[in-house]
Subunit: 120 residues, 2 copies
C-alpha cells in the first residue's frame, strides 16, 4: 500500500508572489516545500524521479548517480516524501517513487514573475 502522505495545505495556495503578498500560513506551507528542495542531493533525486521513464523510479534506479550510502539516499527520499513532493509505493522488493505533479505545478505557478501593480 502507498504510505499515506501528510496533507500539504496547498489546495488554495497561492497566487503568484508578484501578484499579492503571501499570508503567514501560506508562507509557512510553501517554506516547507522549499526547505525540502534546499539540498543538492534532494534536488537531483527529485529530477531523477521526475524525468525517469514512465514518471517513476525505483531506489535501484537512483543510487548509482550518487557517491552516497543507501541509508543517506533513503533519508533524503524520506524528507522529499514527508514534504509531499513525492510519493513512494512498495511493489515487491522495491519502493517506486513518483513526483506529485500538482505540487510542482503550484510551486511553478507561485514563482511566475508578473507585472507588479502600477502605483496609483
Amino acid at each position: 500500500m502507498p504510505k499515506q502522505l501528510p496533507v500539504v495545505a496547498m489546495d488554495a495556495c497561492c497566487s503568484p508572489l508578484a501578484r499579492e503578498p503571501l499570508s503567514e500560513d501560506q508562507a509557512v506551507e510553501l517554506s516547507k516545500l522549499f526547505k525540502a528542495m534546499a539540498d543538492p542531493v534532494r534536488l537531483r533525486l527529485l529530477s531523477l524521479i521526475a524525468s525517469h521513464a514512465g514518471g517513476e523510479a525505483c531506489v535501484c534506479d537512483l543510487t548509482d548517480a550518487f557517491d552516497l550510502t543507501g541509508p543517506t539516499i533513503s533519508h533524503h527520499l524520506k524528507v522529499l516524501r514527508e514534504s509531499g513532493l513525492i510519493t513512494g509505493e512498495r511493489r515487491g522488493t522495491w519502493v517506486y517513487y513518483r513526483v506529485h505533479p500538482e505540487v510542482l505545478a503550484r510551486l511553478s505557478a507561485v514563482l511566475v514573475p508578473g507585472d507588479a501593480p502600477v502605483p496609483a
Copy 2:
C-alpha cells in the same frame, strides 16, 4: 550605486526537472535559491516586494507586516539579496528592493511538471 550582486550561475540553468536530471553543479546553484526561500519570513518579504506597487519596496514598506525587529528584517533581506533573488538600491534615506524577475522565471520554469518520457 546598487550593490553588486554575486553572480548566480543560472544563465544556462536548467531544463525542467521533469525533462532531464539536474547536473551536480545545477543542483548546487538551485539549492541555494531554494534555501533562501525555505523560510516563511523571507517568502513573505519576497512576495511583499514582488507585489508592491511599481515592483519595488522600501524597508519602510516592509517592517509593518512583521512582529520582528529591524535588524532581523535586515538579516532576512540580506540573505535574499545574497542569493540573487532581490536587489537593493540606496536612494536617499532608504534602500529600495526589487526582485530579479529572470531568476523567478527560471525557477518557475524548472518546476513545470512535464510528461515524463515513455519507457522504450
